[in-house]
Symmetry: C2
Subunit: 215 residues, 2 copies
């Protein structure tokens, strides 16, 4: 197992170098099934597509539902079907890159497999990592699944319109996330009400600009 | 990998034999983080504890939050800390069984790790398997994560009180679940409103009775 992880690390460096040679950065988006990864990517694309040339890799265990949603936006999208596997590895990203014209992209947004556990362990060549936690999942998730939060650069609390309904304790989540990772940025967002999406977009914009050396 | 899976299968048979020799059956409860596994187990215990002697194995990646919740009920509960692993294997159940007095139990309820992917692959010696899918996760999950639904005996659509809010299409989920697994029973439940819990309890009761040869 250790050997496989080392191998993945090496390939993630190669992926990052290849993307860098084309002035492309990669955003890794992680979260549970149904946390709102696709919707959030769609919202970010709507707000950033005039500024950056965006491509998308849609990770799925099977099927093409999310890839079809993104495809309607008219951006380069490639589906990565893991055929049952619970996470994406850098090797898969390396194999998929030739399907893009990297010289015509600034950003690759990768929607990882819906899973709070395994994807957190794998660096796929990303410049930064965005974790989503949706309100209905409960405010104990940072304590129960710490790795994904300790390794992410930002945490978006999604479906925030349901905070009162679930009695979700943001302060608890933010406190635990910052204890695991003092540098993490925390956002409260809702695709339904639009709350917080501009703030999240500004943060993503800043990370892309920094990764591309345009900050 | 194949070898490890075979090994797990062999141990799951041994676990099932050991449980059977003490007239104990095992229910494996699976679902995403925040799908409501702990709450549902608590509701089932409340309705079945006068009829069966129940023990609980709480699978967690880290921490003791759910085990503490169950512990307050005054039942035998043992926490299985996977130390980061994304699922429970039969070997772990085998190691944990000596912590119970099996002659004083009828049922072991196992709360698996919150994950729609990996736990579905591992038989842990269960007599039956209950999958939870909560409404906020979305009605496309059977198509995206088919294995957990095709291998479960029942599917409980939890947080059903949110069906209208999310425009959740039950018919789609039920159709896809039955296509993957014609024998699956589908329930609509809510710990908040109590809806469907008696029906789910009656089904669990029937599965336990059948497994113990008391049907």
């Amino acid at each position: 197992m250790h050997q496989v992880m080392e191998w993945n690390e090496d390939v993630s460096d190669a992926v990052k170098r290849e993307l860098g040679s084309h002035q492309v950065c990669l955003m890794n988006v992680l979260g549970s099934p149904g946390a709102g990864k696709t919707s959030t990517i769609v919202e970010l694309i709507a707000r950033l597509r005039d500024k950056y040339r965006i491509g998308v890799i849609e990770g799925d265990i099977t099927g093409t539902i999310d890839a079809e949603t993104i495809d309607k936006l008219g951006l380069p999208v490639v589906q990565l079907d893991t055929d049952g596997a619970c996470h994406i590895e850098a090797m898969s990203i390396q194999h998929i890159l030739p399907h893009f014209n990297l010289d015509e992209l600034d950003v690759l947004m990768v929607e990882n497999i819906g899973n709070l556990v395994c994807p957190a362990e794998f660096n796929i060549g990303e410049s930064f990592r965005l974790a989503l936690l949706s309100i209905p999942e409960g405010d104990d998730k940072v304590e129960k699944y710490p790795l994904i939060f300790s390794t992410s650069d930002a945490l978006a609390l999604n479906k925030y319109d349901l905070k009162e309904y679930f009695g979700f304790d943001d302060a608890r989540v933010e406190r635990n996330a910052k204890a695991a990772n003092p540098d993490i940025s925390v956002f409260r967002v809702s695709s339904r009400t639009g709350e917080g999406l501009d703030e999240l977009t500004a943060w993503v914009d800043g990370k892309i600009a920094a990764a591309l050396g345009r900050a």
